[in-house]
């Protein structure tokens, strides 16, 4: 597995731990169940913590705990299961989560751009993905019609800008 964060291919400093595993030192990502069962012990550790939500575990469950997490990992059990796109937007746009939002599971190249738009800044991808593929697939489209979590200007706002410019005498 390869982690891409903000477009950089980086070493993952977090260890994903199973519910029965002994916690290693250093940053870990735990399941929602483990977080709920051991929240005090996990909060007391003086190291960055991540939580992983399965499809069906809504972000509202952790909305009040978000300041505890450096990473929220959302699972795509299959690329066809697009629930986590909604979860990602809710985390960013409604619950104001600013930490790392990581896409894990069946994360394919043809979905990169959708994921980025919904607010993911980190993607766990197969080792087959090269920086060239990333460059191509994370950037197919120059403009977007609809607002999303990336805060990019929409086509509508670009049109309004053009119209305003035209009205003010066409100065570029």
């Amino acid at each position: 597995m390869q982690l891409i964060k903000n477009g950089e291919f980086i070493e993952d400093s977090f260890v994903a731990v199973g519910d029965e595993d002994t916690l290693p030192d250093g940053p870990v990502i735990v399941s929602l169940e483990r977080w709920q069962a051991e929240r005090e012990a996990l909060s007391a550790r003086n190291t960055p913590l991540g939580v992983r939500l399965k499809s069906g575990q809504e972000p509202s469950i952790i909305a009040d705990d978000l300041d505890k997490f450096s990473v929220v990992a959302l699972e795509f059990p299959a690329y066809r299961n697009g629930r986590a796109y909604s979860y990602a937007r809710l985390l960013r746009e409604r619950y104001g989560y600013k930490g790392e939002l990581r896409a894990v599971g069946n994360v394919l190249r043809d979905q990169f751009q959708f994921m980025i738009r919904c607010g993911f800044d980190a993607l766990e991808v197969s080792d087959k993905i090269t920086p060239e593929i990333w460059a191509e697939c994370s950037n197919f489209f120059s403009h977007y019609y609809q607002p999303a979590a990336d805060g990019k200007p929409t086509v509508l706002s670009l049109r309004q800008r053009l119209a305003a410019r035209a009205q003010s005498g066409g100065a570029a």
């Binding site: 499809s55 809504e58 690329y79 066809r80 299961n81 697009g82 629930r83 796109y85 909604s86 979860y87 937007r89 746009e93 409604r94 043809d110 979905q111 751009q113 959708f114 994921m115 738009r117 919904c118 191509e136 197919f140 489209f141 120059s142 403009h143 977007y144 019609y145 609809q146 607002p147 999303a148 086509v155 509508l156 670009l158 049109r159 309004q160 119209a163």
Partner: protein, 552 residues
């Protein structure tokens, strides 16, 4: 008609480049068919029984002459000289080679067309009323909001991997020609007491294995909030729609399982949050910008009666029959709506040759402000023709075998491709429709029977809309033999209903006689002025059942 600006052009061109790259990866063997499948399905490329099929989006069913000519060109160059108009107001080519698809997409892009979102579990091409801008009682041209929805839904990052496909239809008149109640979302344009235009929202309609009629969950969504409201519905569906079983994944199942009231509550709660965020507020300037494209054409001031028309009707019975069935009233005096039937006797419903497309494009250019509409009943419409030109239009159509006078009559049937093309089908549909058409070919008899919609599907996925046919025919497979199950009483208009099953299925030999018997029972029982569907609603299933299965 809407015209692309630089942003629309750029997006479609970038999409062509992206898909061309994916096709190249498939052709070089870098991608297996399995790996390629999700990619081609994002672009309307299906693998059918014999070949790839390409589905082209015709947003809300509106085409310019230039676009129709390009479709004719594509049919001629890359296919077998014809295309097939579908119940989704789209066009399908049944025989393109995969290697040619990127070239086809480039040709389409040159006339502002594409295949985006014609397949896959995303928000599909928005459909609407073929009489938009011409219907007498229209509140607002439904294409304006349809275009706004088209743009909002294009490559929507959150809603490109929904539990299942998602279809939105818009009607601008109280009488519904867009079948909005059998769509995932149906939008009915309404006006409040103060004259302000807004939207009634229906959710959870659909056909397929589990036919459901949509439930109304909003009486009046203001225009500026429509996209926020739609996004709320989509988010609730994306989060809570079932993903464990593809036959239970449509929004209709969610609405059915939690109930319309709970659906409304969840959507309202989500809507309140999205609205508060404000980013989806639809500014009036954008509505105005798009509205300009759908301004009424330069209609002449004409007397409503045309002496030329009256004279021609008296002098030509063929023309008189055509006027009687294929012409609808226009809101502007002296104009008429012309329906072009793609249901010639014994033909394949919805098929149109490239030569016919060219001919229709010429007629539209000359007589109907350069515009053609595709109907969900697989016909074409010229929305604005001067009454005095009707005879000339008819003559030209007739010369191209396009003047079949049967709109809304018994031979104007909907049929899915069926086992002749489709890998999902259990039985053939097209040959059944063709034989019904031949059995009832007599035009006087068709007019005597009056309005009648026979819809045929080759499997329970219901692409032929059999549930909502006045007579519905469903092909089933019983131990390798094709059988046909019959329903009566379905409708897809403002009184949408799912038809009732009459009884045991019929064999291929029996089915046409069974249809004829049903028709004869109606003719026997009808009261003055009653259409088939009216009689059925009055007398119910019993008389049909008794006669159909009576032992001789």
């Amino acid at each position: 008609m809407y015209r692309y600006d630089e942003f629309d052009h750029q997006l479609v061109n970038e999409r062509v480049a992206q898909f061309a790259n994916q096709v190249a990866r498939r052709l070089s063997g870098e991608l297996t068919e399995d790996e390629f499948k999700p990619l081609r399905l994002m672009n309307g490329v299906y693998l059918q029984l014999h070949a790839y099929m390409l589905r082209i989006a015709i947003p809300y069913g509106t085409l310019s002459s230039r676009q129709l000519r390009m479709l004719a060109h594509i049919g001629r160059t890359y296919d077998r000289g014809y295309g097939h108009f579908t119940t989704r107001q789209n066009l399908q080519f049944n025989w393109p080679a995969l290697k040619d698809v990127p070239d086809i997409l480039r040709d389409l892009a040159s006339v502002e067309m594409h295949c985006i979102q014609t397949s896959g579990n995303c928000i599909r091409n928005v459909t609407s009323d073929q009489y938009a801008g011409a219907a007498k009682n229209e509140i607002e041209d439904p294409r304006i909001i349809s275009e706004i929805i088209r743009q909002w839904s294009t490559f929507h990052p959150e809603f490109s991997f929904l539990p299942r496909k998602f279809k939105i239809a818009v009607s601008g008149t109280p009488d519904d020609r867009a079948a909005i109640r059998v769509h995932d979302i149906g939008i009915q344009i309404v006006q409040d007491a103060a004259g302000k235009v807004g939207y009634e929202i229906y959710v959870g309609g659909g056909l397929g294995r589990t036919p459901m009629i949509a439930k109304k969950i909003a009486d009046f969504v203001p225009k500026e909030d429509l996209l926020a409201y739609l996004e709320a519905i989509m988010r609730v569906y994306n989060m809570y729609g079932r993903r464990d079983n593809m036959y239970k994944s449509r929004i209709k199942i969610l609405v059915h399982e939690i109930g319309a009231e709970e659906m409304k509550r969840q959507v309202d709660a989500e809507f309140a949050e999205i609205r508060k965020a404000g980013t989806l507020h639809l500014p009036q300037e954008e509505v105005d910008r798009i509205q300009v494209y759908f301004r009424p054409p330069a209609f002449e001031t004409l007397p409503d009666e045309s002496t030329e028309l009256n004279k021609a009707v008296l002098g030509d019975t063929g023309f008189a029959n055509w006027v009687k069935s294929n012409i609808a009233a226009h809101r502007v005096p002296g104009y008429a709506i012309v329906n072009i039937s793609l249901k010639p006797i014994g033909g394949t419903p919805g098929d149109c040759t490239s030569d016919q497309m060219d001919a229709i494009a010429d007629i539209a250019e000359k007589f109907s402000f350069d515009e053609i509409r595709v109907t969900h009943e697989q016909n074409l419409t010229l929305a604005h023709v001067r009454k005095q030109d009707l005879y000339a239009v008819y003559e030209t159509l007739k010369a191209h075998d396009l003047a079949t006078p049967n709109i809304n009559l018994i031979t104007d049937q909907i049929a899915c491709p069926g086992l002749d093309y489709c890998s999902l089908a259990n039985a053939r549909s097209i040959p059944i429709a063709q034989r019904i058409s031949e059995r009832f070919s007599d035009i006087a008899r068709q007019h005597d029977i009056g309005e009648m919609k026979i819809n045929t599907s080759g499997c329970i996925n219901a692409c032929g809309h059999h549930h909502v046919g006045h007579i519905g025919i469903l092909g089933v497979d019983k131990k390798g033999v094709e059988y046909y199950q019959v329903t009566i009483g379905g409708a897809a208009d403002e009184k949408t209903a799912v038809g009732d099953i009459v009884g045991p299925a019929f064999t291929e030999e029996e089915i046409i006689d069974a249809v004829e018997k049903i028709v004869n029972i109606y003719l026997d029982k009808r009261e003055t002025g009653e259409r088939f569907i009216d009689t059925y609603r009055r007398i119910g299933l019993a008389p049909f059942k008794e006669n159909l299965y009576a032992t001789h």
